[in-house]
Amino acid sequence: MTEDQTPQEALDLIRSTREQTLAKMDHWPWWYDGGYALACGLLVAGQGFPTAFSLPSVAIALAILVVIMRKWQAEKGVWVNGYSPKRARWAAIILATVLIGLMGLSIWFGKVQQIYWVPVVNGLAGGLLGYVGSRVWMRLYRQDVRDV
């Protein structure tokens, strides 16, 4: 490629280079899905239980998130802040909002009403949402990246 590339050639070069970057994210490791779902589930379920359980669950969930983030960075060599791409940002915001809502339900039913099966079910729902949400986010991110 020379310095005097045409505008069309430059746009094509941008697209092909970005596709290469996306290819690094084609293989989705099981530990990322599992870790992210577990962290979401713990964050949601933990809120409904007494402090002796809820605080460690938050600490463990945050530790899991840090570990999977660092492992992903070490293996892939690329990283994206979930809230930075245009469309994918909305998937992250909606997921965070729903998870916060589920945490609120866990607190109400668990800590206030002391109906402990609700936080457990909420935690399972939170884990599933985390799994699905991260897939939706990646799909939208790919669209964002392909729109130069």
């Binding site: 310095e3 746009l11 070069l13 970057t21 070490a74 060599g77 690329v78 990283w79 994206v80």
Partner: protein, 100 residues
């Protein structure tokens, strides 16, 4: 919608590719080097030029017992890249309208 502005610093093929990658994700030095198929020294020169313009941020992070260099676009870099792409798209449109 970004105001189209041609940026000669970004337009050079190697730097254009670096910005293309970093506009999609923060990336490790070695990943960028392998993607655009240049040597460490050539990439360092490009990164230095982009860093001096305030377009690229460089951070060092210890990972797996090794020091790794991560590159990302700064807000100014993102703005300049978006404006440059808008200008390229404008030029393509002008060229296609002239050829009809």
């Amino acid at each position: 919608m970004a105001v189209p502005v041609f940026d000669a610093l970004i337009h050079a093929p190697g730097r254009l590719q670096i910005c293309a990658i970093l506009s999609a994700a923060e990336a490790e030095f070695a990943v960028v080097r392998d993607s655009i198929k240049v040597s460490d020294s050539v990439l360092s020169k490009h990164v230095k030029a982009l860093e001096e313009a305030g377009y690229v941020a460089v951070r060092k992070a210890a990972m797996g017992g090794r020091q790794r260099t991560w590159l990302s676009l700064t807000p100014a870099g993102k703005k300049a890249f978006v404006a440059h792409v808008a200008e390229l798209e404008r030029l393509v449109k002008v060229a296609s309208s002239l050829s009809v």
